[in-house]
Each structure stands twice: as C-alpha cells, then as structure tokens.
C-alpha cells in the first residue's frame, strides 16, 4: 500500500510496536487472572509457587454460581429475544412509516446509553417497592431489555442501510402484501445483522451487573451479582477460575462469530473505500 510504504523506517517500526504495547495492556489482566486461577494457594499471589485445579472444581460445585447461571440464562434468553423482536419491529417502522412522536420515542429508547445504570436500577426498585409487583424475573427482564435495546437498534439500522429497497419494491409490485414482504423479503435479508444484534444483546445482558444488583433478589440473582457477592466474602482464587471460564467461552463465541459472519461487517467497521 502506497501510504504505508512512503513512511520512514522509524515510523514503520514504531507503529506496530505501539499497537503491540496497547494490545498487551488490554490483554494483561486476562493473562494475569488466568495464571492466578491455577495457583494452589488460597490467596491471589504472584508468581504462583504451586499449581492446582481446585478452584475450577469449586466454580462448578458452588451452589450460588449454579443458581446464578440458571437465572442469568433465563433472563438473558428472554431479554435478548424480546429486545431483538421489539428492536427489529421499531427499526422497520421508523424506516418505512411516519408516526407521531417518532423522534421522542427514539430519544427515550436511546437514553439508557447515557443514563447511569444505577439510576435506572434505583427507579425500578422504587417502582417495585411502591406497588404490589413482585421483584421476580419479569422486572429483571424488563430492565435488561431497556439496557440492550439501543445496541440492537444500532445493529438493525446498519444492516437496513445496506438493504436494497428495490427487492422489497419488486416483491410488492408482484402483488405481495406488506406483511408478506416483511416476512419473505425484508427479514431474511436482514438476518445476519439481526443475528449480530441478538448476539450483542445476549452477551451484554449476561454480563450486566450494576442495574441487576438493584433489581434482583436472592431468587433471581444473576451470575455477575453472585460473583460480586462471592468477592465480598472470600479472597480465594475461585473467582479467577470462573473468570477464566467466562473469558474462554466469550472469546470463543466472538472468534466463531467473526469467522462465520464477519464481525467487522456486523459492527460496520469494514474499510469500504
């Protein structure tokens, strides 16, 4: 490439080195926590003198983590699915229909990007405490939908921008009803973007902590909340082991998504020019 080859030698070396250092900074805690998780000692200490897999065994037997995982799966499953359905519907409506209060609606739905999560969590907690609504799964799911919806909307918009409107017009001119066009043309064409949006929403919801801390109870405690409570009680490396499991699963999912779908395309960061 011309621009790069015209750089002086010092800059051609400095650039990659800078990138390597910055990537090392991003990776440092991940690497350190991985090494710490194999430490036989019951406290975090560096470097480990002896190694053991005990903490991994404890991760899978500690009841709060199992319960937390179950609760997180229920909450993540429902909130990411509903956010996807609601977000897709709205994105299609915003693009093709005119209705009153469109801008206001969008502004409110995007507000959780800047409204602190503890404020939304506190608001829901106050509502629940003032009404006879039980603090059950429904309220946690509602809370998570609010928080992940802006991300789903962004992802659906990006794929709608790349959608060729002539395909929809062709279907309509051949006599398909608006509902039929929606289900046979628009949604199938949007599928990769929708999957990306859903994946994003699911991982965000699974890891959400601050608002969950306010709206969950012992019965609906999510995995991150259970992890937070664990750190406050114990200092052993169990959480390091759980973090490693978390990191491995997340990185694998992302690497697969990148391989099969092209995350760059879904996230709209391909170099188009």
């Amino acid at each position: 490439m011309k621009i790069q080859s015209s750089l002086p030698l010092s800059m051609r070396i400095a650039g990659p080195m800078l990138i390597a250092v910055l990537l090392a900074f991003v990776l440092l805690p991940v690497v350190v926590v991985t090494i710490a998780s194999f430490n036989a000692k019951a406290i975090i200490s560096f470097p480990p003198e002896s190694y053991s897999l005990n903490w991994f065994a404890r991760v899978f037997t500690y009841p709060d983590f199992r319960e937390g995982f179950r609760a997180s799966m229920i909450i993540t499953g429902w909130s990411s699915f509903l956010a996807l359905v609601i977000g897709t519907g709205l994105a299609i409506a915003v693009k093709s229909l005119e209705f009153k209060g469109k801008q206001t609606l969008l502004a409110i739905l995007h507000s959780p990007l800047v409204v602190p999560h503890f404020t939304l969590g506190l608001g829901l907690l106050i509502l629940v405490s003032q009404t006879s609504v039980q603090r059950h799964y429904g309220i946690v799911i509602l809370c998570h939908i609010m928080l992940v919806l802006p991300f789903v909307l962004r992802s659906v918009y990006v794929s709608m921008e790349n959608l060729d409107a002539r395909l929809e017009q062709a279907a309509a001119s051949l006599g398909a009803s608006p509902v039929k066009v929606l289900f046979t043309v628009t949604i199938p064409l949007l599928a990769p973007g929708l999957f990306g949006g859903w994946l994003f929403a699911a991982i965000m919801s699974f890891s959400e902590f601050t608002a969950s801390l306010f709206v969950t109870t012992q019965a609906t405690q999510t995995l991150p909340v259970a992890m937070y409570n664990y750190v406050r009680e114990y200092a052993d490396p169990t959480l390091a082991a759980l973090s490693v499991v978390y990191i491995v699963v997340t990185a694998t999912v992302l690497a697969f998504a990148n391989y099969f779908l092209g995350l760059g395309k879904i996230l709209n960061i391909e170099d188009n020019h």
Partner: protein, 282 residues
C-alpha cells in the same frame, strides 16, 4: 391494514419507552420526599435532600467522579485511536481479526470479571508487586489498590473496547481519496493524518467522548471493588444510601444531580462541537 401493522411494530417499543420514563420519574419524585428511617415508605415533600448536598462527602463524590470521567475519556481515546486505526487499515485479514477479537473481548466480560482481573494485577501480592519484588526493585508492596490511579487504570480498560468500535466505524467511513489527494499534493504521512484523517474521524471521537463519559459515570463495581470505599464516587454513594441505610430519597436526589451533571456535560460537548464546526466553516 397499514395502521394495524404500525401498531404491532411500534407498541412494544412504546411500552419499553414508557417503562424507562416511569422509572426516571419515580427517581425524580423520590428525590423530593422525606426519608422515614427503617421504612420503605416516604414522607412529604421536601427540598432537604438537595440543600444538604453541600456537605463534603457529597461534594467529594461528585468532584471525584467528574475527574475520573474526564481522565478516563482522555486516556481511553489515546489508547483506542491507534488500535482502531490499525483495525481498519491493517491489510492482513488474520491480523485484523486478532486485533478485533482482542480489543472487543473485554467489552463482553462484564464489569465484575474485568475488575476482578485488575485486582489480580494491582493487589499487594498481585502481578505488578510480585514482578517488581522478584526483580528486587522493591522491598515492601506498592499501594496500587484503593487508589485513584488504580481505579482510573481499570476504568480506562473498561471503556477501550467501545471507544475502539466507535472510532473504527468512523475511520472506516473516511473516503480514502481525500488522503490520496492530500498526499499527491505533497503532504507527508503525518500531515495527511493530522489535517485529513483526524478531522474526518471527528464524529467518532465525539461519540466516544459521550459514551466513555457516561459509562465511567455509571461504573459501580470498579470504583467499589478497586477503590474499596477510599475512592468515593456517585455510584458507590447511591448504592450505600440505597442498600445500607435504605435512604431511597437521598439516593434518588444524588441520582438526579448525577443525571443533571451528565446532561450538562453532554450539552456543553454539543455546544463546543457546533462552535468547532462554525470555526471550521463546514
């Protein structure tokens, strides 16, 4: 038919918007109510929650959160810009994928895993102290936990992935012809970057400032776990008041103040953006 379709597409989203609005109104309403100790009920209307906010404990939390938010924004931009630039411009697909997965994985780990990992790095027996001790550079441990710097480093790490994504989106939409034009007119690589690439990525930079400021303001687990109560922030104070003292009205009024502060910071940012554009003559 058409209005039917519209109702189906829009009403669920309207319901969620209603939920957000009602939650925020509940916070606003509670911020003006009297606290009744030992009860979840609240008393009559009062301004005491706000007038009492001059106390140093609240002032410290606000000034500290504001400072942390500004510092985090600056440092995460400095770290994320080179990463985003490399992510978009690197030619090798494998290298591109590697940079992408490494820089965005932390985003999906959640605050707890990331913060806990930093405890393993910063703790008195952690990576940094262990390494320095093994090298014989220090005798006693350096205090990195429970400090402003410790919290800042972990917060920067939290915001990097989302800033990388926003900057990468902006950089990838820059038309390369502008850079080539500048180059063919004799500009060196640094001049091309400073006068063409950087200004054209401004939308991404502004979006990053907004998001990183809001995220830092919102962060709870990081200041709580790494700061250990010695680095007070608005979020940790709201949690303490809400859960230890059950003082929902005071927690609510702190939230309202926090929201006002965030809103004015974002408004100021928008104002400067417009001024910047006016000066630039776009």
């Amino acid at each position: 038919m058409r209005s039917d379709l519209r109702a189906w597409l829009v009403s669920p989203a309207a319901f969620i918007a209603l939920g957000i609005t009602v939650s925020l109104l509940a916070v606003l309403q509670f911020s003006f109510r009297t606290f009744i100790p030992g009860s979840l009920d609240v008393g009559g209307l009062t301004l005491a929650n706000f007038t009492g906010m001059g106390k140093s404990i609240y002032f410290d939390a606000f000034s500290n959160t504001l400072l942390l938010s500004i510092e985090t924004t600056v440092f995460s931009l400095l770290v994320a810009y080179p990463l985003a630039y490399a992510l978009v411009r690197v030619q090798s697909r494998a290298l591109k994928s590697f940079i992408l997965v490494v820089s965005i994985t932390p985003l999906f780990l959640g605050e707890i895993v990331r913060t806990y990992s930093w405890i393993a790095v910063l703790g008195s027996n952690g990576f940094i102290n262990g390494t320095l001790r093994a090298l014989g550079l220090i005798d006693g441990p350096l205090t990195l936990m429970f400090t402003h710097v410790g919290v800042l480093v972990a917060l920067v790490h939290v915001t990097i992935p989302v800033v990388v994504l926003m900057l990468a989106t902006a950089i990838s939409h820059i038309n390369r012809d502008f850079e080539k034009a500048a180059q063919s007119l004799g500009a060196g690589p640094i001049k091309v970057f400073v006068t063409v690439t950087l200004p054209l990525s401004m939308p991404g930079i502004l979006a990053s400032i907004t998001t990183s400021f809001a995220w830092t303001f919102s962060a709870f687990a990081t200041p709580q776990m790494i700061g250990g109560g010695r680095v007070p922030t608005v979020s940790t104070l709201v949690y303490q008041l809400g859960f230890s003292s059950m003082n929902f009205p005071l927690a609510a009024s702190l939230s309202v103040m926090g929201l006002l502060l965030t809103a004015s910071a974002l408004y100021a940012l928008g104002f400067f953006t417009k001024r910047l554009k006016a000066i630039g003559g776009h």
